[in-house]
Amino acid sequence: MSNKIATAGNTGKKVRSDCFVTLELKDSGGVKIEQKSKVEVLFGKANIELCEDILKFYGIGNAQLTLEDKGAVPLIIAARIEAAVKQLIDTDKEYLLDFIEENNYTSEKEQFRFSRLYLPGNTPSMMLNAGIHDPNGIILDLEDSVAFSKKKEAQLVVRNALRGINFYGAERMVRINQFPKGLEDIKYLVPHNVHMLLVPKCEGAEQIKKLEEKIEEIKKQHNIDRPVLLMPIIESALGVEKAFEIATASENVVALAIGLEDYTADLGTRRTNEAIESFYARTRLVNACKAARIQAIDSVFSDVGDMEALRENVKVSKGLGFEGMGCIHPRQIKVIHESFAPEPDEIEKAKKIVNAFIDATEKGLGVVSLGTKMIDPPVVKRAEKTISLAISLGLISENWREEFLNNEE
């Protein structure tokens, strides 16, 4: 065996919760591990044991491994070493740490997707605490936020994160790479309870169908029968034109998102705060989604310092019919939730309608009416949606009706 050196991970002054490994395979001399860790006193021994176990797993008996650790948790150290090993040895074996039980929850087609927090797929420090900010979804990103040379490393980090990091109930999403490269990502995702894949720069139903074939293949291999939901991202003029086709490509497509940076570039124009240049695309996308009975999700708002502008932006977005928005900073989550929340007068009206509906059902009446006005079923449905939303946002209590009836008397 010729001497070869591989490296993986991140290093540098600002790097935290990550590590950098250098692995050199040798012909003899056994395994030598060198460690420089800022948590050496507390975790040095555990780190060495982990390193030894991984090398043993891959049958490496002679090597020099250097671990520069900035407080990485085991699942990150493992991903980094596996990445280094795979640069030197051709193997499909995966070194998997435990899948934590807290990550066994599922997601539903119909659930709120107001906020989804983007996390760069090769930056572990942002992942550990992402869930505490309570976004509706977290997106581990393999696409634009990962440097081309780090794509393979990121696949392993994201896989291990899906298994071992608790996102506290947020929908577990991954943005895969653009078609067809993204097809290579999904074997690291589907077996590890990914809820939803975001498909960037989607331009037609054909891409979705190919992706689903691949997903089905992996599901079969691993005996998985829960669905993997899809959120194609429309980011080009062609994608906008094909929005309805994409929206109806599969029953697993539960939402379409719009990506305005790439879209405006494709138009040959500039993205502005007023967003007149993307008005057509956004309304077109919303219309396609509603026609397909799926959710329309807006682009991210990139000025993370300006919460008031974000608030305004969300109001416009909601007004157009969007039901969610991307976040690139945890502080945006609360503002987005508050802004998508129903207004007080909306809630009051919904209470009256839902109450009238319950009354009518209890009395066995076929027709719901409020005062002298008849209420159509879709209106009732929307009111119910508003009420359950208000409950989930803590705006009204689950026993709102008791209080409502008391006030009526």
Partner: protein, 521 residues
């Protein structure tokens, strides 16, 4: 100065502590409120008017001349203060002069030390300085942790420092007080001049009790220097120098609200807790420190107070621009300020009669007839570690290194509600642990731990548990928090420390609450 330490015994919190330190007898911690010495205060020497210039001009040509006249010699106790924080130029100069004069074995009693004092390590090595009694931050702490200091370090709180000087535990031979503004008689304040730092409260005890008092300024004004935060009647010599401090480092520190989303969340949860606990109500009082998270707590308090039309009677500082704007907006009636962290704070103290300067005597001294700390409704503090018994550590890290001072932290534990907002772990190091490395504050005084993954209320605070029982906040037990931290980080190994002690931690009453051990090199 006698033996470094001897005769270890177990104290009331189960820690082994020496009964003799640097040749002085010590009392082990006996429990909160248990130790009440029956004695008289230490008396300073009587001075005579006849020994001082009739015209009141006590100015001498240089700091060196002042130190020589004050009788600087081997084995003396020299005290300084941290009003200039990391911009302090005085402490280094004093020991440069001591070195030049060949004086040895000095005991340095700073009210706090900063990274700028790394310069003094050479004097700890060559025997100019025997040991430090005061906070040991950063480089000095690291030096002490490796057992390189000749004597044993003694760490005290701000209030404990006043107590120790007043009780005679620490008898200061010479104190050097740096002031932003002074007159030649020795009246001094921190309000004006290029090295303005706000107030000089930390030097109050030294001015009252030290044998010789030297005031040094770079801004000598004709008599009277008013207001006189330090009274010239205590002062022996005054010195004018080119520069006592580096202005931009005096008012630096962490005076910006954190931008970290995780810490902002902690602050928001803390404020929400206080609201739901009924602590934020008309006429309440609070204290929160100068760290980024504490500042953010203050900011969230302000938001809540504005929304609910609530006014606080007083806020205890560390003051800074955020607290000053609350005062100016009318959200608080008074700032009782112990330390000023930025120029806006200095300006406000000079201009606004409701921005009042305090000292460790009024705020913190445990051997006084009460103090302000206990009157504060809620105090927000930090910690390096907290254990499942709510004991907390502020001086050492989990690897055993001594890196921080106590500041006013211990004294603030007497507030009506003590809340520590801390991350559950820092770079894989759990903050909530089985047992803290060093006990600085006993768990019985610590009420609430707020982490990003849950809030633990001390079981002793049944009232708080009852008030928060229907809260949407994630209330958990401290044990649950510890387990959650270990689940994410792994269970940390116990650091292997040497048997040898390098420092002791004093409780506010002068007893020893814990010892700090040497780290393995």
């Amino acid at each position: 100065m006698g033996q470094k330490y001897s005769n270890l015994v177990k104290n009331a919190v189960g820690r082994m502590v020496p009964t003799e330190v640097n040749g002085q007898k010590q009392v082990p911690f006996q429990g909160v409120g248990k130790y009440k010495p029956d004695a008289r205060k230490y008396g300073p020497k009587i001075a005579s008017y006849a020994d001082f210039p009739e015209d009141g001009n006590k100015q001498v040509a240089s700091l060196k001349e002042a130190l020589v006249k004050a009788g600087l010699k081997d084995g003396m106790t020299i005290s300084t203060h941290h009003h200039f924080r990391n911009g302090d130029l005085l402490a280094n100069k004093i020991f440069d002069i001591a070195k030049e004069l060949g004086v040895k074995n000095l005991r340095w009693v700073p009210s706090a030390s900063f990274p700028c004092h790394e310069h003094l390590i050479q004097y700890l090595e060559d025997g100019t300085i025997h040991h430090i009694e005061g906070s040991m931050n950063g480089p000095l702490g690291r030096f002490a942790s490796h057992g390189k200091m000749k004597g044993l370090g003694v760490l005290r709180s701000h209030g404990g420092r006043y107590q120790a000087i007043q009780d005679g535990d620490v008898q200061v031979d010479i104190t050097v007080i740096g002031a932003g503004c002074a007159d030649s008689f020795g009246n001094a304040n921190g309000l004006f001049g290029p090295s303005a730092s706000g107030l000089l409260g930390f030097a109050l005890a030294d001015s009252q009790y030290a044998d010789k008092v030297i005031v040094v300024t770079d801004n000598m004004v004709p008599f009277p220097c008013s207001p006189w935060q330090i009274q010239g009647n205590y002062v022996d010599y005054t010195v004018l120098v080119d520069q006592v401090g580096i202005p931009e480092k005096i008012v630096s520190g962490t005076t910006q609200i954190t931008k970290s989303p995780d810490r902002l969340l902690l602050a928001e949860m803390t404020a929400q807790f206080c609201l739901e606990a009924g602590i934020i109500r008309d006429g309440f009082s609070f204290q929160s420190g100068a760290g980024g998270t504490s500042l953010a707590v203050g900011d969230y308090f302000a938001k809540i107070m504005r929304e609910k039309n609530i006014k606080a009677r007083f806020a205890r500082g560390g003051s800074n621009k955020y607290l000053v704007s609350m005062l100016e907006e009318g959200l608080v009636d008074y700032i009782l300020d112990g330390q000023t962290f930025d120029l806006k704070g200095v300006q406000s103290m000079a201009d606004n009669p409701n921005h009042v300067w305090t000292s460790p005597f009024t705020s913190y001294n445990y051997h006084g007839k009460g103090n302000f700390a206990g009157m504060v409704d809620v105090v927000i503090l930090g910690a390096t570690e907290v254990d499942v018994n709510f004991n907390a550590n502020v001086v050492t890290h989990s690897d055993g290194l001594l890196l921080h001072g106590i500041g006013g932290w211990q004294n603030c534990l007497f507030s009506k509600t003590v809340i520590l907002p801390i991350p559950l772990f820092r770079d894989r190091i759990p903050v909530v642990t089985d047992e803290v490395t060093t006990i600085c504050g006993p768990g019985e005084l610590i009420d609430v731990i707020v982490t990003e993954r849950g809030i633990a209320i001390n079981p002793k605070r049944k009232d708080l548990i009852e008030k928060l029982k229907d809260s949407n906040l994630p209330i958990k037990t401290i044990q649950e928090l510890k387990e959650e931290a270990e689940k994410i980080c792994g269970k940390p190994a116990k650091p292997e420390l040497e048997d040898e002690l390098v420092a002791v931690i004093k409780w506010v009453d002068g007893t020893i609450i814990d010892s700090v051990r040497k780290v393995k090199s």
